[in-house]
């Protein structure tokens, strides 16, 4: 069952993360065209090679529905497959395997996966305060009949911080908690960012003490354990073996994937500290037919340090309940014995909205294609990538392997 590894990421592009206030304002269609053009140039392919599209639908500025058709028309592309993903931070990983599936089924020869995440210019009738209103409930639905509007918002349960904090607090009660190990995740990733000129925090070293002295947001999470939202956007091109053969770079073949979700609020999880990445990663490894120890780098979705810890455990890299000890015993930098989030992770790269997860996919591709600059790993043929949406609610895994 699953993929044979005949589809590969052959090109990628992403905007350097920037503060929302100073980033260029571009229509989302315009960003899609811009990012697609850069990804094609990176791959050495032509626009006419593309015959599939996977795009992030929610919060698309120019349309709420019919986004793929509008994008195909704007781009001037003729498509055999078009798909919208709506899986929050898991959307990037989800887009890549959907594209690989379309390629392996013979539907497409090259699929554009794209997520615009810069703000669009405001029209004369657009009220800038809609942003403030939309942000007020941090992605929680306020619609009549939405369970979270009725049973969460009146109690102040909203956004992501408190949900992740409550998962961390339960973890602490079950297994113990070491704030130093948690800070080390952010610090090792910062070391990686110091070797990545594209990262938001490039040139800004960070110490364990800095993390532990940073402002407490929701016990036990401190502000330096939480991603900084930035403007950005990203695209990758997933192509067939035939197209990959004429691409410029060594391709990153998608040899395994998994996806798992069954709740929106982790309150309703069977056990809050056993996250959906467990079954997703299990499927991905089984499909690829490889062991955890075959992985040479892990690009792990890191909206919070606790997300990384639980992914390390539930994806099978660290024993359950011993993740903090495991983190203390491993060097997670690109020079270390478990290279993880070698671009700095979103904690140090910046989280460009839903495109944030694409930074992990693209870093895996850059490492496999040998283009990671100063942080390039000596040997990098097999990479694990994870994606996480909502509050650990939708999770996905990819195994990428060099062609």
């Amino acid at each position: 069952m699953g993929l044979k590894g005949n589809a590969a990421i052959v090109g990628a592009a992403q905007y350097k993360p920037e503060k929302y206030a100073t980033a260029p304002r571009m229509f989302h269609l315009e960003q899609v065209a811009d990012l697609a053009g850069m990804a094609l140039a990176d791959a050495g392919l032509k626009a006419s090679d593309i015959d599939g599209l996977v795009i992030h639908g929610p919060q698309f500025h120019e349309a709420q529905v019919f986004v793929p058709a509008m994008a195909a028309e704007y781009l001037g592309l003729s498509l055999n497959f078009a798909e919208v993903v709506d899986l929050g931070g898991c959307s990037s990983v989800a887009a890549v395997w959907r594209a690989a599936m379309a390629v392996e089924m013979g539907l497409c020869q090259a699929v554009l996966c794209v997520i615009p995440a810069r703000m669009a210019p405001f029209g004369p009738d657009e009220d800038p305060s809609w942003m403030a209103r939309a942000m007020r409930f941090g992605g929680h639905s306020t619609a009549f009949g939405a369970p979270e509007a009725e049973f969460d918002l009146p109690y102040g349960h909203m956004g992501q911080n408190t949900g992740y904090a409550m998962i961390a607090q339960r973890y602490a009660a079950k297994y113990g908690y070491d704030p130093v190990a948690m800070a080390k995740i952010a610090v090792d990733q910062r070391t990686n960012a110091l070797a990545n000129p594209q990262a938001s925090f490039f040139g800004k070293p960070l110490s364990i003490e800095d993390v532990l002295a940073s402002k407490m947001v929701a016990e036990p999470l401190r502000v330096l354990e939480i991603v900084m939202p930035v403007a950005g956007g990203a695209a990758v091109i997933v192509a067939s073996k035939e197209v990959a053969a004429r691409a410029k770079n060594r391709g990153a073949c998608i040899t395994g994937f998994g996806e798992h979700l069954y709740f929106k609020s982790p309150t309703y999880a069977t056990e809050m500290t056993d996250t959906p990445i467990g079954p997703a990663a299990e499927r991905a490894f089984a499909m690829a037919g490889i062991k955890r120890s075959d992985v040479q780098a892990a690009q792990i979705y890191d909206c919070y340090t606790i997300t990384v810890l639980l992914t390390l455990e539930d994806a099978g890299f660290a024993p359950k309940g011993e993740g903090m000890r495991w983190v203390r015993e491993h060097d997670l930098t690109y020079k270390g014995n478990f290279p993880m989030n070698t671009h700095g992770g979103q904690l140090s790269f910046g989280q460009s909205g839903t495109a944030g997860g694409m930074s992990q996919v693209i870093e895996a591709f850059h490492q496999i294609s040998g283009r990671a600059g100063e942080r390039q790993l000596k040997r990098c043929d097999t990479v694990f990538v994870s994606g996480t949406g909502g509050v650990m609610s939708e999770q996905g895994a990819l195994i990428l392997q060099g062609a």
Partner: protein, 319 residues
């Protein structure tokens, strides 16, 4: 509490749950086919998919599944609850509920502790939220947090506190007056509730009837604050209602002039229904030919909020 806090809108399916809370009873949907308890209320049993459900009353006792204490409010309107004691409770029936804890010190809160329900009426129409406290805690199972009840409680508390003895400082004793200058703020004043009636009255007096202050319906839909907010100027003048506990009083003068303000800022909004309080410090004392000039920085905050809603450097001339 801030009346801009989101409140539940019951649906046809969930109405029995909310009606139960109004009466101080916790009722849950129960599956007649497989015996599974269901939360939140929905069309079907999420275990066996039967639609043959019934409402049953439960005791509401359970254990604390997890919690967090917030140091940044999840919404500005929750600033008066800081730290928010956000919790997930697992009822003895096995269902989990998002809630908040009340009546507990931070150190008392432990994952796994036994808890019991507290029915908290939050709106004058009887709308109640389900909160929890420790099982051994001796507090009423029904409490009233409607704005009117909170205002009355704040007033009662303020009038019950005896005024502390103050040391007297002569206005013309330059050294003693200058010694009052401090970087440290006083203790907090009594609390005042800023409700819609007060805001409407101020709008009428001042002529500033902009919808963001006076039209709750429009503000709920269009304001970035999710409801109306008080005029900055109103919050400023409410300063006269605060009794700020100071350990000194200036004496010996014939006249005291309010000279105006060196700095007046409105850094944070006051959502309608919020409780506000103030504290102050003496920022500067200067001897002038006319008398002694004192600059007092008065900061007004929504209760629990770190950011002030009004900063006023009030200049007083004693002569």
């Amino acid at each position: 509490m801030s009346t801009n806090k989101p409140l539940p809108t019951p649906t046809e399916i969930s109405a029995p749950y909310w009606n139960g809370l109004k009466e101080g009873r916790l009722t849950l949907p129960h599956c007649k086919s497989c015996g599974h308890w269901i939360f939140f209320p929905r069309r079907h049993c999420d275990k066996c998919w039967s639609q043959d459900l019934e409402w049953k009353e439960v005791k509401g006792t359970g254990t604390l599944y997890t919690y967090t204490l917030t140091r940044v409010p999840t919404l500005p309107d929750f600033a008066d609850d800081m730290p928010q004691k956000m919790a997930v409770v697992e009822l003895d029936e096995g269902v989990r509920i998002n809630t908040t804890l009340i009546g507990l010190d931070e150190a008392d809160i432990k994952v796994g502790m036994r808890v019991k329900p507290v029915f908290d009426t939050v709106k004058s129409d009887g709308t109640a939220l389900l909160r929890f406290t420790a099982a051994h805690k001796d507090i009423p199972s029904r409490i009233d947090s409607t704005p009117a009840a909170l205002a009355a409680a704040a007033e009662a508390q303020a009038s019950a506190e005896p005024e502390a003895a103050k040391r007297q400082v002569r206005f013309d004793d330059e050294a003693a007056m200058k010694a009052l200058v401090s970087e440290t703020y006083s203790a907090w004043s009594n609390q005042v509730v800023v409700d819609q009636a007060l805001i409407d009255e101020f709008a009428r007096l001042s002529g500033d009837d902009y919808w963001i202050h006076t039209d709750p319906e429009r503000a709920r839909k269009q304001s970035p604050f999710g409801g109306t907010i008080a005029h900055g100027a109103l919050v400023q003048v409410l300063q006269s209602r605060f009794r700020i506990p100071l350990d000194y009083e200036v004496v010996g003068f014939n006249n005291m002039l309010n000279y105006g303000s060196d700095r007046l800022r409105f850094p944070a909004p006051v959502p309608t229904g919020s409780r506000i309080q103030a504290r102050s410090r003496v920022k500067a004392v200067e001897k002038l030919p006319k008398g002694m000039q004192m600059t007092i920085e008065i900061v007004t905050h929504v209760v629990g909020s770190e950011r002030p809603s009004v900063i006023n450097d009030l200049v007083i001339l004693y002569m």
